[in-house]
């Protein structure tokens, strides 16, 4: 089951990357790893929340893509959310928004 989810997640990732002309497959793997382990140090490895809020699709429903993109790239001054822009390449924050919307960060990613 977990394998199927992984394959589906990977397929979705590949599809959305093609759509958005985002990061290549190797970099996607790195970004998913970062999402799980580094974003996960505050938002939880399964993105159910921690010091930072939960980032599951249902938690993000009311947030616009642009808004999420802004949060990732520039962070939230006055909170613990740092700007991730300096660690991301062009189009990568946008790809992460897509992935978060799909819930691909939860339990998926790369182990």
């Amino acid at each position: 089951m977990a394998r199927l989810v992984l394959i589906l997640a990977a397929a979705l990732a590949a599809w959305s990357a093609a759509a958005a002309a985002g990061p290549d497959a190797a970099r996607q793997k790195e970004l998913l790893y970062m999402l799980k382990h580094d974003c996960g140090s505050c938002h939880g490895m399964t993105l159910k929340g921690g010091l930072g809020p939960a980032l599951l699709p249902e938690n993000l429903r009311d947030r616009a893509d642009e808004d999420l993109h802004e949060s990732i790239v520039n962070g939230h001054p006055g909170t613990a959310m740092p700007p991730w822009g300096p660690l991301l390449g062009p189009g990568e924050a946008r790809w992460l928004v897509t992935i978060l919307r799909q819930g691909a960060g939860q339990g998926g990613g790369t182990q």
Partner: protein, 396 residues
């Protein structure tokens, strides 16, 4: 050798192997003072390790989400209480390598502490924010202390430690307060609150003698100090505005504070958002030095004898460990264990240190005198390493 003898030998070897296999289920007859656990954060498992043999004894499964986890030990050093991200509190028998009891006591927790007498285990929670206190034997709930500070949801709680006098002390991330709970009578906890201690305390440490509780602040430059010998004197600000006028760097991982960081009459603490370790004189609480380091420090840990301080770092410098010589306050060695160095733990008297390297799926054991690797052990995305010697240290 006759075939008959061969058969006998095979039987003997097999029965020995079976006895060895059963050893993981039946409690071993041995001491536990040189044992410990390693959190495998992605798999939700812990390894029971032997620091004398430098070996893995067993793997314990079923501890839930351990993406942020820590542990304390019973004072007989047989049981580990593991605090998981999913609010799970799990009591592990390290001799049998089994989960004895597990309760999911909140939606989201961050850490815990064990009381002076070893009878109570306290857990600090993010959601709902507060502290819950359990019977260490049964894990039955003894006290529930929501961190209500008069504004909206209860505050997330950080920096929970035990203190002498059957106390627990902790800080309110959202509330900017320090609370001290006296559990002398477990049925009627007495809470003393210290308000306006600073913006966003992110973690705290208590000195090894149990006297000074120091919370680090994320929302401003400085730390909040409570002298538990004189709580009536209130909380005092130390290192106030240590980085005034300097541009802070983005913080990709919250620093941690632990009681280990006190050496040679000084506290060595991470500077938030800076590539520096700050050195504060105990007693006067003045900054006496800033040691430039490779990245933003996460753990700043003194070897038990206080002669060295080992430092690991936040992303993007989390592949490195630096060793500071305490008397000269100079970096004497820079190690590159690999990406994702998450934690370090010294053996009880500090001749070796175990370092978890998440992205390489291994633990590297270093000799601290030569500062050279001794051996490596495989582990699945290892994070926190906790040795049983913590059982007898205040605040750990």
């Amino acid at each position: 050798m006759t075939s008959r003898w061969k058969a006998l030998l095979v039987t003997l070897v097999l029965s020995l192997a079976c006895a060895g296999g059963a050893g993981a289920a039946e409690p071993m007859v041995r001491g536990t003072g040189d044992l410990g656990i390693v959190i495998e954060r992605a798999a939700g498992t812990v390894l029971v390790v032997d620091t004398t043999a430098r070996a893995i004894l067993s793997r314990v499964e079923g501890l839930g989400d351990l993406s942020h986890a820590s542990a304390v030990f019973s004072r007989d050093e047989r049981y580990a209480y593991v605090f998981g991200r999913d609010g799970g509190l799990t009591k592990v028998d390290i001799l049998s390598g089994k989960v004895v009891k597990r309760v999911v006591q909140s939606g989201n927790s961050i850490g815990g502490a064990i009381s002076q007498d070893g009878r109570l285990v306290a857990v600090s929670n993010y959601k709902p924010g507060g502290v819950k206190i359990f019977d260490a034997g049964t894990l039955d709930l003894v006290a529930d202390i929501p961190a209500d500070y008069g504004a909206g949801d209860p505050s997330k709680v950080v920096g929970l430690v035990d203190a002498p006098g059957h106390k627990f002390v902790f800080s309110l991330w959202d509330g900017g307060e320090i609370w001290m709970v006296d559990m002398t009578d477990p049925n009627s906890p007495v809470t003393t609150k210290f308000e306006d201690i600073g913006i966003q305390p992110y973690d705290a440490l208590i000195s090894g003698d149990g006297r000074y509780y120091i919370a680090g602040l994320f929302g401003e430059d400085g730390m909040a100090l409570l002298d538990l010998w004189h709580p009536e004197a209130g909380v005092k600000r130390v290192l106030d505005g240590y980085g005034r006028g300097e541009q802070k760097l983005p913080v990709y991982k919250m620093p941690h504070l632990e009681g280990w960081a006190i050496a040679d009459g000084h506290a060595f603490v991470p500077a938030v958002g800076r590539h520096e370790v700050l050195v504060i004189s105990l007693g006067t609480w003045q900054e006496v030095a800033r040691i430039p380091v490779h990245g933003q420090p996460v753990f700043v840990m003194a070897r038990p004898d206080g002669r060295q301080v080992w430092v690991n770092f936040a992303l993007p410098a989390n592949d490195t460990v630096q060793v500071i010589d305490v008397p000269s306050r100079r970096i004497v060695k820079t190690l590159t264990p690999g990406k994702g160095v998450l934690h370090m733990e010294f053996t009880p008297r500090g001749e070796e240190v175990w370092v978890s390297v998440r992205d390489r799926d291994k633990i590297i054991v270093y000799d601290t005198a030569r500062i050279e690797p001794v051996t490596e052990l495989p582990a699945d995305k290892p994070s926190g390493i906790f040795f049983t010697a913590r059982a007898h240290r205040i605040g750990l």
